[in-house]
């Protein structure tokens, strides 16, 4: 833990409850190293703290960071990217103006220093975020340099101050740079609407490449005035008033719009009118529409303009006119349009009615001439009728319900459908009108009305439905039967039962459903009692009709009745009993279904019985373990691939360890291989506690067999999981260590020997894992104190991780000073390029430097031995002695970091891991005390 600060009592008051060590008084380099090591911050508070720290380093910090940016292809810049972009965002916030000025100033300086094109571009992009007026001069220099003119022009356009405008204008005036840089500047001028002498731009029309033309015309359409109208019109005319790659036509439209918006109505209206005619001649409907939009915006009589537009041949044009008119719609406009409705052509009627519908939803107007709309329901043209019905539904006036219902009386099915659609969504009581319309309707209308009654669950209309059950044509009858279940109430039960007992075959199922629905509000026991009573009264050969009803009661007493039916009956009755078991909703039926599967005489029912069994034993009513056992039983008798795959999928969903092992047995079984692989993968992904060699082997196998479009991602995820899977065996001392008298401080199973921040340092199968919750992870100490010792442990680092091993230290204070800190740090990471030697891994922090270069690659375990014997400290990392020195000697003329280390020569103290905000892991920790 290398921070350099004076411990202030007050910090603890400000900090959070864990032992967060606020990094005041750190050097710029230390702050930056902290930021780089801990970015991206996971939590907002940590991010704010880190960036606030970085902000405090001011210009020095930014320039330092920019200097660490690698050229493209020469190593990652991710930590620097996070830091610099975090900084740019942070300082561009409200209330950070002073910091922003400093940071922006530093970026400007850094821009000069940077040599790589990509680095410069990166800085300019950051200036686009946090730069303001003060950066204009610096950015302006890049306007003539290809490759940087784009970012620079964009940044200037974003800054968009007077000075930024001048910089862009100057670049145009002086004609500096190349055609490409000029394009960047012209685009930016257009985007920022910079008011420069427009002739400077309009003079370029017709010259240069197509791309240049496109930008020049775009810019003039954004900054031009009446003066440029003619020249742009000529360009549009040359393009035939249609779009081309130069965009002349659109530029002309945009320019007229701009002139209109600026209040020059006369000129704009004239130009738009002329454009309307010209586009008509050129056959360009979309251009006419654009001209019409401008005319609407300038019109003193939009109703008149709309009515004349509605005479147009083009539907696109008419509908656009209606859309534009919506902005000016009022009662007068509705009156004008609706008055014209009866005499309009069919397609115009449709347009108007659709528009009236949309208007009604938005404005809910009180419409005049409503009768004209209702009259259209009788129009011979189908589309007009559809549009009228839809419009009336949207208007929602309940007095029009009967007229809509009358559509159902029509002989033409599409007209019936139009009425049905409108009534379905009509907000109001449609039932009386439907009841009235049924006798007068043809079959299609009757069916539609019945469906609507079902949808509204119209129990008031039960008699009407019953009437159709009795007297309707076969088609109507079928619809009426299907409707019954939605319109019955409890009192209809006896009637429905008697109907069922005498029903023809097609009617049985809907009547059963209707009976079930009629008693749905009763308790299960009452339902069972009622149905049993009916069954007892009915002739023997009709009893089977009630099995499915019994099943739906859900009462447990019903199941034995059904099962006995299945066992004792034959033919239809047996089938009916099976259906009833099949549809049973509770787990109780599982055993019965399994019995059907294993009974030879039940062969005809096997597939459905198995499906139902699997469905039931997968219900959460069973524990996952029992689900697995029941499903395994199913697997043993399954016959087809579909059955096996289905069962295996369900087995996977139990997410138990035995299920994973079981599914693993099928990884070589082609027909079910993918299902098995998915099961193993999903269970393992959700249960990182399932570990060990067996699991590893299974996952390796899954990686091999996976075959689906996402397999690449899945393999990657499994590999990641395998890497993170811990060793499981508790650590044991070697015989040698045992003999020498070592004692285990951490064997991977418990943290009994440790105190301190046990919130961030936690036991993760086999190791201690530090996942810092605050910016600085806090410390973990041995319970006991140790003076002279041999301490052996293993550790694993994450990118740019920083931690430390405190020895002979008290639990309070910064161990680097109140005791001794032996650095633990990923000093190979580029963020630590500029570390002091006494900050290298293994160094006695600030006192004796260690040799660098013996850490294992990230993700691998490092083995380290620390011998502290009096004043003599010796550290061996991965077999290499990296430090061997005497602390008394090293500090006799003051320490190399020039700081006070009052605890350096402590005789004894705790050993501790000193958190510095980065994730680190430790394991296999043991110690031998030296006497």
């Amino acid at each position: 833990m290398k921070k350099i600060y004076i411990l202030l009592a007050g910090i603890f008051l400000l900090g959070n409850t864990t032992m967060s060590q606020s990094p005041s008084n750190r050097t710029t380099k230390t702050i930056i190293a902290d930021v780089l090591a801990q970015m991206p911050a996971d939590k907002q508070a940590a991010y704010d703290e880190l960036i606030a720290g970085l902000t405090s380093t001011g210009e020095e910090g930014v320039i330092y960071l920019v200097n660490t940016i690698n050229a493209p292809g020469k190593g990652t810049n991710a930590p620097t990217d996070y830091a610099l972009s975090g900084l740019a965002h942070y300082v561009s916030d409200k209330g950070q103006e002073n910091a922003r000025l400093i940071v922006a100033g530093a970026y400007v300086k850094a821009l000069d220093i940077a040599t790589e094109r990509e680095t410069k571009a990166f800085i300019i992009r950051e200036l686009q975020i946090c730069g303001r007026d003060e950066c204009v001069d610096a950015l302006g220099q890049y306007l003539a340099i290809e490759d940087l003119s784009g970012p620079a022009a964009r940044a200037l356009a974003n800054i968009n101050t007077e000075k930024a405008k001048q910089a862009l204008q100057a670049a145009l005036l002086r004609r500096m740079g190349t055609p490409k840089t000029q394009q960047d500047v012209i685009l930016a001028v257009g985007e920022a609407k910079i008011k420069i002498n427009e002739e400077l731009i309009s003079g370029m029309i017709g010259k240069g490449s197509e791309e240049m033309q496109k930008l020049v015309l775009y810019a003039i359409s954004r900054i031009g005035t009446e003066k440029s109208l003619e020249i742009v019109r000529n360009a549009a005319a040359a393009a035939g008033y249609k779009t081309d790659k130069t965009g002349a036509n659109e530029a002309y439209i945009a320019l007229i719009k701009k002139i209109a918006a600026e209040g020059n109505a006369k000129v704009a209206e004239k130009a738009a009118g002329d454009l309307l005619d010209a586009a008509m001649k050129a056959g360009q409907t979309q251009t006419r529409i654009a001209a019409l939009e401008i005319l609407f915006s300038q019109s003193s009589d939009p109703t008149k303009l709309l009515l004349s537009s509605l005479k147009d041949q083009s539907g696109e044009y008419r509908n656009s006119a209606l859309n534009f008119a919506s902005a000016y719609s009022n009662r007068e406009m509705y009156a004008g349009v609706l008055k014209s409705l009866p005499k309009a052509k069919n397609e115009v009627k449709t347009d108007i009615l659709n528009w009236i519908g949309r208007e009604s939803k938005i404005n809910k107007p009180d419409l005049p001439y409503k009768k004209n709309i209702t009259d259209q329901l009788k129009d011979p043209d189908l589309e007009v009728r559809q549009a009228a019905a839809s419009a009336l539904m949207k208007i929602g006036d309940i007095s029009t319900i009967p007229a809509l219902a009358e559509l159902l009386e029509n002989n033409d099915p599409p007209v019936v459908k139009a009425g049905q659609n409108a009534l379905e969504s009509f907000d109001g009581d449609i039932i009386p009108s439907l009841v009235k319309t049924i006798p007068a309707s043809a079959d299609a209308g009757k069916v539609a009305a019945l469906q609507l009654l079902a949808l509204r669950k119209a129990d008031k209309a039960f008699d009407t439905v019953l009437e159709q059950v009795k007297s309707g044509s076969p088609e109507v009858k079928k619809a009426a039967y299907a409707t019954l279940k939605d319109v019955v109430v409890e009192k209809d039960f006896p009637l429905l039962c008697s109907m069922l007992e005498s029903a023809e075959e097609d009617a049985i199922a809907p009547l059963q459903q209707a009976i079930i629905a009629s008693i749905a509000s009763q308790s299960a026991a009452d339902r069972f009692a009622g149905v049993s009573k009916k069954m007892s009264q009915v002739e023997e050969n009709k009893k089977y009709l009630y099995y499915i009803v019994l099943s739906a009661t859900g009462d447990k007493q019903a199941l034995p009745v059904i099962v006995s039916g299945f066992k004792n009956e034959n033919g239809i009755a047996k089938d009916a009993a099976f259906d009833a078991i099949y549809n049973w909703k509770g787990i109780e039926a599982a055993n019965e279904l399994y019995a059907v599967c294993t009974d030879i005489s039940g062969a005809a029912y096997f597939d459905r019985a198995l499906t139902a069994y699997v469905r039931l034993v997968s219900l959460p009513a069973l524990t996952p373990e029992n689900r697995f056992i029941s499903l395994r039983k199913a697997m043993e008798i399954a016959k087809t691939e579909d059955q096996k795959n289905n069962i295996l999928r369900r087995i996977g969903q139990t997410e138990t360890f035995p299920a994973m092992i079981y599914a693993g047995d099928f990884l070589d079984n082609k027909p079910v291989q993918q299902t098995a692989a998915n099961a193993v993968m999903n269970i393992s992904a959700n249960h990182s506690e399932y570990t060990g060699q067996i699991v590893r082997d299974l996952l390796e196998k899954v990686i091999q067999v996976l075959d689906n479009p996402d397999a690449g991602y899945q393999r990657e995820a499994i590999r990641k999981q395998l890497n993170e899977m811990p060793e499981e065996e508790p650590f044991k001392l070697s015989d040698e260590e045992e003999k020498e008298g070592f004692k285990v401080l951490f064997d991977g199973t418990n943290m009994h020997e440790w105190v301190g921040n046990t919130v961030d340092y936690t036991l993760k199968r086999g190791h201690i894992s530090l996942i810092p919750s605050s910016s600085f992870g806090g410390n973990l100490y041995t319970k006991s104190e140790y003076g002279n010792f041999v301490f052996r442990f293993e550790f694993q680092l994450t990118p740019a991780a920083n931690n430390g091993l405190g020895i002979r230290t008290p639990m309070e204070g910064d161990a680097a000073y109140v005791g001794m800190e032996l650095q633990i740090i990923d000093n190979e990471d580029p963020v630590y390029k500029n570390l002091q030697k006494y900050q290298y891994h293994g160094s006695v922090y600030g006192v004796i430097p260690a040799k660098r270069g013996f850490l294992k690659p990230l993700g691998e375990w490092n083995y380290q031995e620390v011998i502290a014997d009096g004043d003599h400290i010796k550290i061996t990392l991965n077999g290499e002695v990296i430090l061997d020195g005497n602390i008394r000697e090293a500090s006799k003329n003051g320490t190399i970091d020039g700081k006070q280390h009052p605890g350096l020569l402590n005789k004894t103290g705790h050993i501790g891991f000193l958190g510095h905000g980065s994730p680190v892991k430790f394991r296999n920790i043991r110690i031998k005390e030296l006497k």
């Binding site: 991206p40 974003n158 685009l187 791309e211 979309q286 041949q313 669950k457």
Partner: protein
């Protein structure tokens, strides 16, 4: 007066478009056999575009791609010989094309939609609609100005069971609009109810510059996006991981998941007034992951997104003061189905794109409601990139008192591209 192909077809009456018209009806001197179908051209025939050849009633006549290999594959999507373009503007200007189908990465959607509108074409655009709020505004304006029909291609507001809800959205809409759940509502969109935010669409924070493959016109692929050295991970198949082109899983799935919510909450005309994020700091280039994004509307309704496995699995999909809706469309209001029968069905929507083109009535998911759901996605992206809560004005369509956020509404383009 000249007539374009579509006006000509329309003059025959709506039905004629969909049936085979006898040759003699249309014949005449200089006669070119018109199809009985509307024609379309697809821009972007990579994975997405090649999957969208067939929808009833259209005929593919042109394809476009900046990758020669994709283009070659695209040419063989149909048996007939079709036009193949490198520059999308050539496809858009092709008089044989009625419908422009945009299946490129999102950073192109805005420009291409607007260019197609200028040329008088109707547009079918893949989601997300645009990658900035500003571009979405331009698309809305252009569709209106040139009188075009626009379809944004996600369909859950009118078809198909809706992920973990196991039902199409229509009955959900009916339940919500009935008011039975009470108001305001909170909708939580997470993996727990089947909405996976696909965090495999994250970018790599460090990409070695690579040689641009000969078949790819990288400059045209980037188009309006800032120049960055080529690496294949930026492009085909993995571009969603980079802010310059999309917004990760949020960009990919956002409109699929959120658009139906806008629909059933009745928010098609407005946007949330606030967005809050809980996420690690985002890299300036590579899209990262997040824990939650919370949107709040003026009336207190909320949409909450949970990334990865975050959040409590027992949370209802829709939570209201008087009732909740859980996974598999389980509602905890007693007897709710019966009660709901008294309410009208949601209004029918135009779900046939060709009907929409023929009648010039807006498609169910069009540039206006599509813009609103894309805006939710883009509000989230801006809040993630700035890593802070933002307030939004749904009328002015800008963030309130946050200059940095507003700079991300209109992101400047690389010349010669503008919108």
């Amino acid at each position: 007066m000249k007539t374009n192909r579509r006006d000509f077809l329309k003059a025959l009456g709506g039905v004629a478009i969909f049936s085979i018209v006898p040759r003699n009806v249309l014949g005449g001197s200089g006669y070119i056999a018109p199809s009985d179908q509307l024609t379309k051209g697809i821009i972007g025939v990579g994975g997405m575009g090649r999957g969208h050849v067939n929808y009833a009633g259209t005929r593919l006549v042109a394809v476009c791609d900046v990758d020669k290999k994709h283009l070659e594959a695209g040419k063989h999507l149909v048996k007939e010989t079709i036009a193949a373009y490198h520059d999308f503007r050539d496809l858009i200007l092709d008089p044989n094309v009625d419908i422009v189908h945009i299946a490129t990465p999102p950073h192109w959607h805005g420009i291409m939609s607007v260019e197609a509108a200028k040329a008088g074409k109707d547009v079918w655009c893949e989601k997300p609609m645009t990658r900035t709020i500003g571009e979405g505004k331009r698309v809305m304006e252009a569709m209106r100005q040139y009188g075009r029909i626009f379809r944004l291609n996600t369909w859950f507001r009118f078809a198909d069971p809706f992920y973990g809800l196991g039902t199409p959205v229509k009955p959900l809409k009916k339940l919500v609009q009935s008011g039975m759940l009470g108001w305001p509502l909170k909708v939580t969109i997470s993996k727990h109810t089947g909405f996976d935010w696909k965090f495999y669409w994250v970018g790599k924070e460090y990409l070695e510059p690579e040689i641009v493959p000969a078949e790819l016109d990288y400059d045209m692929w980037l188009g309006p996006a800032p120049y960055r050295p080529y690496n294949k991970h930026r492009t085909h198949g993995t571009f969603r991981g980079y802010w310059d082109y999309d917004g990760g899983g949020l960009g990919d799935m956002g409109q699929h998941y959120i658009d139906p919510v806008q629909y059933f909450l009745g928010k098609d005309h407005t946007s949330p007034v606030k967005v809050e994020v809980d996420a690690p700091q985002q890299h300036p280039d590579a899209v990262g992951t997040w824990r939650s994004i919370t949107y709040t509307y003026e009336d207190g309704c909320q949409i909450v997104l949970w990334g990865g496995d975050y959040g409590n699995p027992d949370t209802p999909y829709i939570a209201g003061p008087n009732g909740n809706v859980y996974k598999n469309f389980v509602c905890d209001i007693p007897d709710w189905e019966k009660k709901l029968a008294n309410y009208p069905e949601p209004e029918p929507q135009i779900t046939d794109f060709l009907e929409s083109i023929r009648t010039r009535q807006p498609f169910a998911l069009n540039e206006r409601n599509g813009f609103r759901s894309a805006t939710i996605v883009n509000m989230g992206a801006v809040a993630l990139r700035l890593n802070r809560a933002l307030e939004f004005d749904p009328v002015k369509l800008e963030f309130i008192n946050d200059e940095a956020a507003n700079r991300l509404i209109d992101q400047p383009m690389r010349a010669p591209w503008n919108i």
